[in-house]
């Protein structure tokens, strides 16, 4: 049996998130994009309304939400502004490895504060020389007495400037390759952390992306999550959660591009009729709608597999690759439908096109997703 309908609960979450975003995000997204303003107040408001940190289990007072439900909310948030969504979802990405790898004491220690007050978190895996090939990371952690000492550089860290808490992947034994990779919980106020100025990006301009350096950063022994050498496994399992989530954010952007295009295609007239009634435009809209729905189903299936505890590596990569690529195509077509107006900042579609590009790059490029898929196929 396959059931495609949303439950009554899921419909309520969707309705609530949609209304919240329509009030707090969509009307401001253009301004944030123009100025690069980091919308901390509106992200705090999302926390106040229970839309943040959905992965935190109910054992420490969190929502403990299934990933499928989180995706339904993610589509709505991303519809308003995917830069804003990236900032919100960075918390899920940073906290998920703690949910996966931490013992109960550590969960209380590191996750509970996110239930009690508004905080941002950042997931620190990528490095200047280790992006797609994350296992080659060079950040080191050395045990000294009761402490771990972390040294290294992290790159492309979402929320870096504003986060109170970092989840940092470092190697305790570079010779051991990915078997040396270990996860650490690092509070922001630990001495030795330096955050460089944030990147001036093409799209998703209201999200905060910056490099971080760790210079003899000392954390207590209990800040090691999941034990030495288990970081890679935790990181890979985290991707089963984060990739469907990012895939669904692409669906939100795609739906926005589609809806804006339909609206414009009904208003704008050429040769005596609305342009949507010209087959050239009508068929473009058809493809955009079909791709959006196909993308949504791929993302939901990957999330469903993760919720069921089934292997989801391949399906998460299906979703991440196709949702991001289709989203890019859809946004490019949206600009085309708007013609000259689409290329101006007077209409929202050029922002969608710039924002979409990043979805093909972060959280594993479209190319690395295909590497993952082909490896699974050739096993």
């Amino acid at each position: 049996m396959i059931a495609f309908g949303l439950t009554e609960d899921q419909l309520e979450y969707q309705r609530m998130a949609r209304q919240f975003i329509a009030q707090n995000v969509t009307p401001n997204a253009g301004h944030w994009d123009e100025t690069g303003h980091f919308p901390k107040d509106e992200i705090r408001s999302a926390w106040e309304n229970g839309l943040l940190n959905l992965c935190i289990p109910d054992s420490v007072g969190g929502a403990g939400m299934p990933l499928v439900d989180t995706l339904i909310i993610s589509e709505e948030i991303s519809y308003g502004c995917v830069g804003y969504s990236t900032s919100c979802m960075a918390n899920e990405l940073a906290l998920t490895p703690v949910v996966i790898g931490a013992d109960e004491d550590q969960k209380r220690k590191f996750l509970k504060p996110f239930v009690d007050e508004f905080k941002l978190a950042a997931f620190c895996l990528s490095e200047p020389g280790a992006g797609s090939d994350a296992a080659s990371l060079r950040t080191t952690a050395k045990r000294e007495g009761d402490e771990w000492v972390i040294n290294g550089q992290k790159q492309w860290i979402t929320n870096a400037t504003h986060a109170d808490f970092y989840t940092v992947f470092a190697t305790v034994d570079r010779e051991a390759g990915h078997r040396g990779i270990t996860l650490f919980a690092v509070p922001r106020n630990t001495p030795g952390i330096t955050i460089a100025p944030h990147e001036n990006k093409m799209g998703q301009r209201c999200s905060d992306t910056a490099p971080i350096s760790f210079d003899n950063v000392r954390v207590p022994a209990d800040h090691c999550i999941g034990g030495p050498g288990n970081g890679w496994k935790i990181a890979m399992r985290t991707l089963d959660f984060s990739r469907p989530l990012v895939a669904m954010s692409a669906v939100g952007v795609a739906r926005r591009a589609l809806e804006e295009s339909i609206k414009y295609a009904k208003e704008r007239k050429t040769f005596g009729k609305p342009i949507g009634q010209h087959q050239a435009i009508g068929f473009m809209l058809s493809d955009m709608a079909a791709k959006t729905q196909a993308a949504r189903l791929l993302a939901l299936e990957a999330a469903w597999r993760t919720d069921q505890g089934l292997p989801a590596n391949k399906e998460a990569s299906f979703a991440k690759a196709m949702c991001a690529d289709w989203c890019m195509e859809i946004c490019t077509d949206a600009v085309q439908i708007f013609g000259g107006y689409g290329y101006t900042k007077e209409y929202p579609v050029e922002k969608l096109m710039r924002d979409a590009k990043l979805i093909q790059i972060y959280e594993g490029t479209s190319q690395i997703q295909r590497v993952v898929i082909s490896r699974e196929l050739m096993r």
Binding site: E8, E12, M16, N49, G50, A63
Partner: protein, 249 residues
């Protein structure tokens, strides 16, 4: 303070409404459903009256299981208990009023707060009928509600102005658009709403219903508006107002 808030489930005011094939009702189903906006304002006002203090807000809907999402939404907003009254009868004011009246007699609330009308039928009669049936005071089309002790002071919208009335509890208030802006329920409250008490009773338990004597013979959409015209100058405008619209002599 115990407050009953009856809520109707209506089509979303943003939805495209069309008249059905038989021409005696609007096409039901297929569009998003909401808490009747005026009733949502009533839920919000009840929450503000209670202001987190002791008491109970009971939300009531008449019909069947299809009203559950709207009742749960009101619970998520902060109401304490839901009552779903099942009936097969067509929901007309003269059917709704005796059911609500019987429920009020059973629950003995201090106050009934409800929307001035539901945006589907637009009858705008139930609050007044209910007050009359209970022999309670009524304040209708409220834009402002103040309560001190047992005295309720209500600012009411009137044609061409406002009027302030006061009554002692218990009573019925019907809410107008300006009264407040309903809150958005928070996600954790949506999750908790499922655990709140939810009673299902039948119309028989409230004395049964008689079919409404009123029959809708036909329903038609409002005539389509003609496109506007742009006139060259004031003289042309005056000519059109005089000769075509015939609003000038």
């Amino acid at each position: 303070m115990k407050i009953i808030v009856p809520i109707a489930r209506t089509e979303d005011y943003n939805a495209r409404i069309v008249v059905n094939k038989d021409g005696d009702d609007i096409e039901r189903g297929g569009v998003a459903m909401v808490i009747n906006p005026f009733d949502e304002i009533a839920v919000e006002e009840a929450l503000r009256i209670l202001d987190g203090g002791d008491g109970e807000i009971i939300v009531v809907s008449i019909g069947g299981d299809e009203a559950a999402p709207e009742l749960r939404r009101a619970l998520a907003m902060g109401a304490h208990r839901a009552v779903q009254i099942n009936t097969e009868a067509k929901l007309m004011p003269e059917v709704i009023t005796p059911l609500l009246g019987a429920l009020v007699e059973r629950e003995q609330p201090d106050l009934v707060v409800m929307g001035k009308q539901s945006i589907d039928g637009d009858s705008g009669q139930v609050a007044q009928r209910l007050a009359q049936r209970l022999n309670w005071p009524q304040a209708t089309f409220a834009y402002e509600v103040k309560i001190e002790g047992k005295t309720v002071t209500v600012g009411c919208e009137m044609d061409g102005g406002t009027e302030t009335v006061a009554f002692d509890l218990p009573g019925v208030i019907s809410t107008d658009l300006r009264l407040n802006e309903p809150r958005l329920p928070k996600l954790p409250d949506i999750m908790k709403a499922k655990k709140k008490p939810y009673d299902v009773i039948s119309d028989d338990e409230l004395g049964g219903v008689a079919e409404s004597p009123i029959k809708v013979l036909s329903m038609a959409p409002p005539p389509e508006r003609q496109a506007g015209q742009i006139v060259a100058d004031v003289d042309a405008l005056i000519a059109k107002l005089r000769d075509e619209a015939k609003v000038l002599a």
